[in-house]
């Protein structure tokens, strides 16, 4: 195998390190994006799905006759017609201790949340299909239901899964040191209960699946705007009982955002292709926004009971956190709560840690990862307490943080817990003091405190909030890339992972061009089709740059060696004398002498029919590489927020937002900045606006943008960004993830800022998002009816 080279010095690269504009921008900005519903499918039937309108009910009967007889309706399917595919959709991440409950593609007997699929109508178009939904008569026997973790964990609560003795899905504990003893001996202990609400992903195209069985090739072709095409193909092959080669899964070039919910596997993805095969006619299902609100997975609901012990100087001695996590009606995966468990300690030296998860089932649509994936809640628990320590001791919050930070010479740093990837929680790289310094260079603390005191005199309440975080990114098991020289002398990079706006077509052209040394305009990047490359995992968990990135780099460096070796054989010259320039391989000190990449492709790939090839001359220039990281790479960051709070209306105005971010080597600063800015907007939404509300028995109350306050451009301030670069030693590019870091600290930093502003009132912020209602309740102490 070719020796791997490394890129660390971006000064010497032609493309990497420069903020190239996205190749994707032209089509996206001119209305030419190809989302799933834009693809020219022709005469596909359209499906609509009848969803349970009970949070918990037993289905006694379903009458589909009237629906079937409606003009334009092709077929109606319920569980009784779908026997062969009534198979479990297993959790993506599980644990032996999980109180495991089967999740089926469609309700067989018990509906456990409002939105769960009950029947599928296939019609000539979606209008008719929706008309037919109204004609299906379902006889429900309503059952008691629970609409929050608090309800679910109450003594004698009705079970979400009848037959299960408890609504607890899993109870896990991780410890480092001796937390109980440390709590007893700590000079100071502070406790608090903190709650973070549910929110959604809100991709611009909701979920969508289309499928056609291709008779001539006997292959099922599925278009699915998923974040993980190979994962979906694998799940379908397992459930349908076919080989992976019998299914071609295509994620369109543009899927309108993923944010996590599209990295999960849903019943609809099983139902639609199967129905297309049953009907022997193509079918598509485009999820509408209302369906998305009630049936796409969400995240965030956690209640943390956190305790910190510390000494007189504010040095952390112990952290104990017991938190309740809302799993929803089924366990789609345990990734989120297990990420929370290990994200708690953040950038601090904490000798004793107790991290305890109580995850429970509720009669609400299941949760799964959503940009930030369990981290924003962990950061709320830790960083809110850092501010409380500062308040308790009369210190600056920044100073308390400074005293506790892991130092740059302590890496690799073993925290003492285990990360969700199964490896010990060991931070590979970082420079946390530089992040804090970056903020303090931009905010003069003394000046701010003087201004804060002055402003109060005129009834203006200013506050400063900080939050720091460490974020496990770039997890395994692997990601793949195939790089080949095409007949026209171009380089084709095929990725297993499909993007949702991250700019893969741009950044992986940069990686391949620099690894090979050719002109970047010769490099094309394609993705999202399982026929391009046999295996892959998918885009989630801020993992692609540090897994697919090295895979592209490895495959490209191998292709470079092949290209030069073929050229050496053609030119009868030592390969050491050759260099790749533009679209040619040339003799270094005699550029006149050389061959084009197209000529090389002709010799190596097309070949001469039946003729033998010289022993040292490579053939078929095509390399596939899979990179498997040894463990997660840890990004880090800091948010600083300055707010002004209107204490009469509870409205929060963000005056400044500063974000410091460390994702290691920055391959394309423009793309990284875009990721961080997008994450920041999402974080502002989580901190102040977004909340999926449910009644006590699980009725969703916010199922449109009228009621669910997704922030718009008007609500999101432009943050001041800065980067700290501590390259990861875990991959040849030195990269770490950047897709979620902008989101992770915001709920905590905004809450810290608001509490700081309201300190004269002694207000306690315990619930996020910080709606005007909650802010006033915190100031004036009026009771709110929280479920």
């Amino acid at each position: 195998m070719t020796q791997l080279s490394e890129v660390r010095d971006l000064e010497k690269t032609a493309n990497l390190g420069t903020g190239m504009l996205r190749r994707e921008d032209q089509r996206l900005l001119t209305g030419g994006g190809q989302f799933l519903d834009d693809l020219p499918f022709g005469d596909f039937y359209e499906a609509a799905i009848l969803r349970s309108n009970y949070a918990h009910a037993r289905i006694l009967s379903i009458d589909t006759e009237a629906a079937k007889s409606l003009n334009g309706v092709i077929a109606v399917f319920t569980a009784s017609e779908l026997g062969p595919i009534l198979k479990d959709l297993p959790p993506k991440v599980t644990n032996p201790k999980l109180n495991y409950q089967v999740r089926l593609p469609i309700v067989k007997e018990y509906a456990r949340y409002i939105g769960e699929p009950v029947a599928v109508v296939v019609a000539e178009n979606r209008y008719i299909a929706e008309d037919a939904l109204e004609l299906i008569e379902v006889e429900y026997e309503p059952l008691e239901s629970v609409g929050s973790t608090a309800q679910a964990l109450k003594e004698g609560a009705p079970p979400v899964h009848i037959g299960s003795e408890t609504n607890v899905a899993v109870h896990l504990i991780q410890q480092a040191g001796d937390p109980e003893a440390a709590l007893k001996s700590s000079p100071h202990v502070l406790r608090e209960t903190l709650h973070v609400a549910r929110g959604g992903g809100h991709s611009i195209e909701a979920r969508a699946v289309a499928a056609r069985f291709d008779g001539p090739t006997q292959q099922l072709i599925v278009w699915d705007n998923t974040q993980a095409p190979h994962y979906v193909r694998q799940m379908l092959a397992t459930i349908y009982g076919v080989s992976e080669d019998e299914i071609r899964l295509i994620a369109p070039a543009d899927i309108g955002g993923g944010f996590g919910p599209k990295a999960q596997f849903y019943g609809e993805e099983v139902l639609i292709p199967w129905i297309a095969m049953e009907l022997n006619h193509p079918v598509k299902w485009i999820e509408d926004r209302w369906e998305n609100f009630i049936s796409a997975t969400m995240e965030r609901t956690q209640t943390h009971h956190v305790e910190v012990g510390f000494d007189d100087d504010g040095r952390l001695l112990v952290l104990k956190d017991v938190f309740e996590h809302d799993q929803g009606a089924y366990c789609v995966g345990l990734k989120v709560p297990t990420i929370t468990m290990s994200t708690l300690p953040g950038p601090y030296v904490i000798p004793n840690i107790h991290s305890e998860l109580i995850s429970c089932y509720t009669n609400i649509v299941p949760t799964s990862s959503l940009r930030g994936a369990g981290r924003p809640q962990a950061v709320v628990a830790m960083e809110r307490m850092m501010d409380r320590i500062a308040e308790h001791l009369g210190l600056e919050p920044a100073e308390v943080r400074r005293r506790n930070l892991i130092q740059p010479d302590q890496f690799p740093y073993a925290v003492g817990l285990t990360f969700r990837d199964g490896s010990p929680l060991t931070y590979d790289s970082g420079n946390y003091p530089a992040l804090l310094d970056g903020v303090l260079e931009r905010i003069d603390l003394a000046e701010f405190r003087a201004e804060q005191i002055e402003a109060r005199k005129s009834g203006k309440f200013l506050g400063l909030g900080l939050a720091m975080f460490v974020e496990g990114t770039g997890i395994g098991p692997y990601e793949g890339a195939r790089v080949r020289l095409t007949n026209t002398g171009r380089v084709m990079v095929s990725l297993a992972a499909s993007p949702q706006g991250q700019g893969y077509e741009t950044v992986y052209a940069q990686v391949a061009a620099d690894a090979i040394g050719c002109d970047i305009d010769l490099v094309s990047v394609r993705h999202g089709d399982t026929s391009f490359i046999p295996y892959g995992q998918g885009t989630f968990a801020s993992r692609i740059t540090s897994t697919a990135g090295p895979a592209v780099w490895q495959a490209s460096t191998q292709v470079k060696v092949d290209i030069i070796d073929v050229a050496a054989s053609m030119l009868k010259i030592d390969s050491g004398e050759l260099v790749i320039r533009g679209d040619r391989v040339e003799v270094g000190d005699d550029p006149e002498k050389g061959v084009s990449l197209a000529e090389i492709a002709s010799i190596a790939n097309v070949g001469r029919h039946g003729m033998s090839v010289a022993r040292n001359q490579p053939v078929a220039i095509e390399r596939t590489s899979y990179f498997k990281p040894s463990q997660a790479a840890y990004s880090s960051g800091i948010s600083a927020i300055i707010v002004s709070v209107d204490v009469e209306t509870g409205k929060i105005e963000i005056l400044r937002s500063i974000l410091g971010h460390d994702c290691g080597t920055v391959l394309n600063p423009l793309l990284v900045e875009g990721q961080v800015l997008g994450g920041h907007a999402h974080g502002i939404g989580n901190a102040i606006y977004e909340e999926a509300k449910y009644s006590k028995d699980g009725q969703p109350l916010t199922v449109s943008y009228l009621d669910y306050a997704l922030p718009t451009a008007m609500e999101v301030p432009t943050p001041e960004l800065f980067h700290v670069v501590s390259p990861s030693p875990l991959n040849p590019l030195g990269v770490k993830g950047s897709g979620e870091g902008g989101t992770v600290p915001l709920p905590a930093s905004v809450a810290n800022a608001v509490e700081d502003a309201l300190r004269p009132f002694g207000a306690r912020i315990r619930e996020i998002p910080l709606t005007p209602d909650r802010v006033l309740a915190a100031i004036y102490g009026f009771q709110r009816d929280e479920t």
Partner: protein
Amino acid sequence: MKPSRFIYHAPTQIEEVLDLLWEYGDEAKILAGGQSLMPMLNFRLLAPAHLIDINRVKALNQYSLSDSGLTISALARHRDLELSPEVELAYPILHEGLTNIAHVQIRNRGTICGSLAHADSAAELPSIMMALDGQMNVRSKSSRRIVPAGEFFRFHLTSDLDSTELLESVFIPSMKRNSVGAFDEVTRRKGDFALVGAAVVGTWSERGTIEDCRIVCSGVAPTPLRLLEAEELVSGTDLSEEVLVAVQQLVMESLEPTEDVHTSAQYRKKVTGVVVRRGLARLAEQRSVVNV
């Protein structure tokens, strides 16, 4: 989110519109800007058998400003009025309210009359129309009537219009000399419906007192809510700090607001007093401008 089947009508004359309403009544809905109706159709909250699109009725697409007042016909868009310097000069409070409605794209399509006929108490225009003592010109095939704004809003999303009637236009009488107004609201996001809002109007007398004060709140009840006690408290005063504090206290103590998914009754109770006080404080600020 596809509407139920409906028959689409695209009349070009008012008389045709009225004929269609006469014929189909309960089974028909008027489509003007569509900014509330289309989502309701797509959610199937409404499933009218007939949709009467009035966008081609040229006679309805106008507004006119005269000495007596402003007449706004059924198709005039929010944005038409918002961008009119004459309207801004004659009715600053209306202009202010218009800029608070949703977003520019929505104001480009949405109509004044459509918003009023939709009768959402958390919207800006119903409370402003009541504060300005506007009149609704209602017409059917068989009759015409004028409904004062104060009697037009019956319940949440329910107006005084019967199923054969069209809100043909609204009339806002011109503001008296030395009349001033202010609109204030608290929303979750820019452009949202109000958690609470208040439209206040009054006239500065030569003695330096505020007279004929109208205070109308949005978002706190099933209809815009006129606060008569508060009006009485402030009328005839100079809107001094003491008066403002007293009226805030009165509103907070007397109001029994509704609760919904957006916020609690307790919040509304507390903050309605605040927006009323802030609105009145702005009337006080304008005292110097009107040369009293």
